[in-house]
């Protein structure tokens, strides 16, 4: 089992969620987060005075997947979130010791199956 965590542009979260649903993902976490990078700034204004912010809103998506689906999921995430501009975000993948579904008590692949 793997955990995929993707930090993406907020406005792409809706489309990505739909694509992941279509490929059979049964659950995921979607969180609004504030992110900082050294290279991304956005220009806004405050009462007519321009200001630039280096804290930007992004979405964080967490998915628990079986190993065989990993490659496909990464491709989908990249396909639907990448613009090529700075600020597209990052994806991390890590190993999971154990996953337990609290309702069904299913473990690992049984924990993430559609009920």
């Amino acid at each position: 089992m793997k955990k995929v965590v993707a930090y993406i542009r907020t406005q792409r979260a809706l489309v990505l969620k739909e694509e992941l649903r279509k490929m059979g993902i049964s659950a995921m976490t979607i969180a609004d987060i504030t992110a900082w990078t050294s290279f991304r700034k956005i220009s806004l204004q405050r009462r007519g005075i321009p200001v630039s912010y280096d804290l930007v809103h992004m979405a964080k998506i967490e998915i628990f997947v079986t190993d065989d689906l990993l490659g496909k999921i990464l491709n989908v995430i990249i396909e639907y979130t990448r613009t090529g501009e700075p600020g597209d975000g990052v994806i991390t993948v890590s190993n999971l010791e154990q996953v337990i579904n609290i309702s069904t008590l299913g473990k690992d692949e049984n924990a993430v199956q559609k009920s």
Binding site: V15, T34, L44, S52, Y53, L55
Partner: protein, 394 residues
């Protein structure tokens, strides 16, 4: 009432576009007040030789009497009347903000409301209210069912068609981000509407009292219809449904408020509730026209029905200076009202298409795709609606 419209809409839209709609309504109040002061009042209410458009006698409010009244409103000073009518002129183009929400460029909006006022609202208001040709034919409109709600409602349908659907049109994007805000807006609209409808009596007396009561009761029965229909359909009564129904009732009773009895208003409200509910199902669900906040149904269809209700149920017992309708022995009034409605439909729908096509050709109407995704607040106004307390300037 006008900022209330903004709250109502902003609450029903996604947060990333809430400031843009508040900006459109609030700045619309500013822009259109100025326009009314400079040219609007005179184009609508100054005498005209052929009843087509008012002359320039009162340009910049010059010569509008403060100490004496105009013959439109014998009981109040001329400037009071002119300022009161400003509110109608301001809110009418801004009703359409609900249709083109979440995707119209700011500069296109700016040009649109000015053009729409000059080419659609001012002429139509002159024809019906400024002793123009429709008034001479006997078309009646107490507080703006034809002039305001039919024209803006059909304009909304046209605007939605020209502009096209929002990106990813579907239930996922129709998320009211702050329903309490929408309820505050609806509450303030309802209250403001008493000024709109009862105020159109232009004097405090039996007529204003009748308009006050008809407005309240039609709004209540229309809201009741929505309450029951949403309850039946979703198994739970809906607060966004109830406020929409109440607004639909207020819009629909507007033209008839000073001509029909409270008992007629009771039944009119029921019809308005059904019409707006099924209008939304038709336009949005079935035809998939993205009139974002359903102005075409909540204002357009109801405005048409209310204007026709004058031809059906108006009574000179209620208003001696109004007409009798079909039920009171004057069947021809229904035809005259239908003519007024038809003119407003054609001008509102056709005129809006022409104005939007021209703006599209010159400066463009729609924001870029990535701007639409990011939201109009940040991309059109450089401001964010909530929570930038971490964002120190760098």
């Amino acid at each position: 009432m006008i900022p209330a419209l903004g709250f109502f809409e902003a609450g029903l839209l996604r947060s990333k576009n809430s400031l843009s709609t508040l900006m459109q309504t609030f700045s619309g109040l500013i822009i259109l007040s100025i326009l009314w002061f400079i040219i609007g009042f005179t184009l609508v209410y100054a005498p005209s030789p052929w009843g087509v458009i008012g002359g320039l006698k009162w340009i910049f409010f010059n010569g509008v009497p403060t100490s004496t009244s105009l013959d439109y409103a014998p009981n109040i000073p001329g400037t009071t009347f002119a300022t009161y009518q400003m509110m109608f002129a301001v809110i009418t183009p801004l009703l359409i903000t609900g249709a083109f929400a979440e995707r119209l460029k700011w500069d296109a909006f700016f040009v649109f409301i000015i053009a729409w006022s000059i080419f659609i609202y001012y002429p139509l208001a002159h024809w019906v209210w400024g002793k123009g040709w429709l008034a001479q034919l006997g078309v009646y409109d107490f507080a703006g069912g034809i002039v305001i709600h039919t024209s803006a409602g059909m304009g909304s349908l046209a605007a939605a068609l020209v502009l096209g659907r929002r990106k990813n049109f579907g239930p996922d994007i129709m998320v009211p981000h702050n329903i309490p805000l929408a309820v505050i807006g609806a509450a303030m609209l309802w209250f403001g509407w008493f000024g709109f409808n009862a105020g159109s009596a232009l004097t405090a007396g039996p007529l204003a009292s009748n308009a006050l009561l008809t407005s309240q009761i039609a709004s209540a029965t229309a809201g009741m219809v929505w309450l029951v229909l949403s309850w039946k359909k979703s198994k739970k009564p809906s607060i966004t449904g109830v406020i929409t129904g109440a607004i639909a009732g207020l819009a629909g009773v507007t033209p008839a408020a000073g001509y029909i009895s409270p008992q007629s208003a009771f039944f009119l409200g029921i019809i308005l509730g059904f019409a707006s509910y099924y209008g939304i199902l038709l336009f949005k669900q079935k035809l998939r026209i993205d009139d974002a906040l359903d102005v075409s149904s909540v204002h357009g269809l109801t405005g048409i029905i209310g204007a026709l209700a004058i031809g059906l149920a108006a009574s000179t017992v209620i208003n001696p200076s109004g007409p009798n309708g079909l039920l009171y022995g004057n069947p021809s009034q229904l035809g005259i009202q239908a003519l007024g409605v038809a003119v407003a439909v054609v001008l509102g729908f056709g005129g809006t298409i022409i104005i939007m096509k021209i703006i599209n050709a010159v400066i463009g109407l729609r924001v870029k795709e990535d701007e639409e995704e990011l939201g109009l607040d940040a991309t059109q106004h450089g401001e964010r609606e909530y929570g930038d307390e971490w964002g120190a300037s760098a």
